[in-house]
């Protein structure tokens, strides 16, 4: 298996500096983030509290009627452990109101809707707190496109967006995040029993090795297979990465003017902080 180890001491420091400075560059002092009870949002909450002070981090818990009760309890555990302000908004009525009119059993469709409702609430809360939304996505899910476009992907900053899931796990261990959070199987919890590794068809350690070889080392499909990864897995990972690039770019603009967003209107994001 590929070596994905990192110096977590320097990394955590680097991420804390990143949050401190980039939140400020965006002209905010506070951040809002969705606390799901999972590992990624726990790590981002810990890092944010360290960077900005716990009084400047607001965790929002948004359970749906089918969410696992463990998720809510674990999110509360994290909020209390760090000592950040937290709010709970149950989204069942909003979601069910809509799906009363739309007759579907498509889990993906309902899952995406949940994700986008949560996004709407997070962005609405930022108005109240004068805060920016922290993204909690990791590199594995972003690269695999295992995310909801304009749902959980919508955020002002991606502090762990360059960390594969197994690296997030190691960072969480280094940061002494409660065992209970570390030990549960990764899940988007959009429907009962949903598990990342079932849906993605492999464990993260393996997915991350393939992703690393393909993305960071630019190895070809054949090269990755020759290193001992199953053909089916490698094909699946590469297909996922390539077919979800649209989620990671600005949509094409029909360019005809002298300067066009996404093409040649190239101001930095952090200008004029």
């Amino acid at each position: 298996m590929t070596d994905l180890s990192l110096n977590y001491e320097v990394l955590s420091k680097f991420l804390v500096y990143f949050i401190k400075e980039e939140v400020q560059s965006n002209k905010f002092n506070k951040v809002v983030l969705g606390l799901s009870g999972g590992l990624d949002s726990a790590v981002v909450a810990y890092l944010s509290a360290e960077a900005l002070g716990k009084e400047n981090v607001i965790g929002i818990l948004m359970p749906y009627k089918l969410s696992s009760p463990d998720s809510l309890n674990d999110a509360l555990l994290i909020a209390k452990k760090i000592g950040i302000k937290h709010e709970t908004f149950e989204i069942t009525d909003i979601v069910d109101q809509y799906f009363k009119k739309i007759n579907t059993t498509d889990k993906m469709r309902i899952g995406n809707f949940l994700s986008r409702v949560r996004m709407s609430i997070l962005f609405d809360r930022t108005r109240e707190y004068d805060a920016i939304v922290m993204g909690t996505g990791n590199k594995s899910e972003i690269m695999l496109g295992y995310t909801t476009w304009y749902g959980d992907m919508a955020a002002g900053l991606y502090p762990i967006g360059d960390l594969y899931k197994t690296q997030v796990f190691e960072l969480a261990k280094f940061m002494k995040i409660p065992e209970k959070i570390l030990n549960k199987p990764p899940s988007a919890d959009l429907w009962p029993g949903q598990k990342d590794e079932d849906e993605l068809g492999a464990v993260y350690r393996e997915l991350d090795s393939v992703l690393y070889l393909y993305i960071d080392e630019r190895k070809s499909m054949e090269e990755i297979i020759s290193l001992g990864h199953s053909k089916k897995l490698v094909q699946n990972v590469i297909r996922r990465v390539n077919s979800t690039q649209f989620k990671r770019t600005i949509p094409p603009v029909a360019k005809f003017s002298a300067r066009t967003l996404g093409i040649d209107f190239l101001y930095p994001h952090d200008m004029g902080r």
Binding site: V10, S25, P268, D270, M271
Partner: protein, 290 residues
């Protein structure tokens, strides 16, 4: 400051490891003044700021908007302070040839003594410099009160040919202004920091000169600059180290006698035959057109 010419020089250099505000030259000018005043108070002879210290790095389309001719009145407050201390800073130069450059300016005795335009602005992967600036053409080595000085900018130091040219012009010290983004976090130090330190270790050891490396800190659009500024002696010894990630004003005392000693015990430049280098190099160039 003691003696001049071929004689021994003792001087104090200040490494200004700052975090500039992207695109805000007014705020950055104030920061330059603040750091320079502190360095004057500490009786430093020279203060070195990082690459693009006046503007920040990831400028994109802001490049032309923050470009300044080196004679601009904007620099006046620093020219005034420059009567008490030599100042080296990075800026976007609005060139006489109507190009923009990623440049370094050496201020001494209240005037601009030299301007160096970065020779190798990187343009690949996360780097996009040549989209916005032109390439410089000339290595500049010039006499100052601290001896013969060359300036190089960031990527330049990964081209041994440029370090060699500074060496060939008998530089005592190479001032490296840098905006090196962090990458590689496996080892004890960031991988890119290891690379820089190893390169400068080797250069100083074989070229028998000092190198002062000044890298910025802070973030521009997610690119994190690690700092880690230091001075390296002609025997590859680190004289001062500014640490990772935080702004710092770090001082190093330099004794130029070390250059003389090193070049007596390891007289590589004396051995070096520039004509042989030139003949061979001309031949390589000629052959490459065959």
């Amino acid at each position: 400051m003691h003696s001049k010419g071929g004689k021994n020089l003792h001087y104090k250099i200040a490494l200004a490891q700052i975090n500039p505000v992207l695109g805000d030259i007014e705020k950055n000018l104030l920061k330059h003044e603040e750091f320079t005043k502190k360095a004057i108070k500490e009786k430093a002879d020279l203060i070195v700021f990082p690459e693009l210290s006046m503007t920040g790095y990831k400028l994109g389309d802001l490049t032309m908007e923050v470009a300044l001719p080196y004679e601009s009145d904007f620099f006046k407050p620093l020219l005034t302070l420059g009567k008490h201390i030599d100042i080296v800073l990075g800026f976007v130069e609005r060139g006489k040839d109507k190009n923009s450059y990623n440049s370094a300016m050496y201020i001494s005795e209240g005037r601009v003594k030299s301007v160096y335009e970065k020779l190798y602005p990187p343009t690949h992967g996360m780097f996009d410099e040549l989209r916005f600036v032109a390439r410089g053409k000339e290595i500049k080595t010039f006499d100052t009160k601290i001896g013969k000085v060359s300036m190089l900018i960031c990527r330049d130091i990964f081209h041994p040919s440029l370090m060699f040219l500074a060496y060939a012009s008998n530089a005592d010290i190479v001032l490296v202004l840098s905006n090196m983004p962090l990458r590689g976090l496996k080892g004890e130090k960031p991988a890119i920091q290891e690379t820089v330190e190893k390169a400068i270790d080797t250069y100083t050891n074989f070229f028998g000169m000092f190198v002062a490396y000044v890298n910025r800190v802070g973030f521009d659009d997610g690119l994190g600059f690690f700092g880690g500024s230091f001075v390296c002696t002609p025997s590859g010894r680190k004289l001062a180290y500014a640490g990772l990630f935080d702004e710092a004003l770090t001082f190093a005392e330099i004794d130029s006698e070390e250059i003389f000693k090193k070049r007596q015990t390891f007289p590589l430049l004396r051995e070096e035959d520039m004509n042989i280098v030139k003949l061979n190099f001309d031949k390589i160039l000629e052959d490459s057109y065959d």
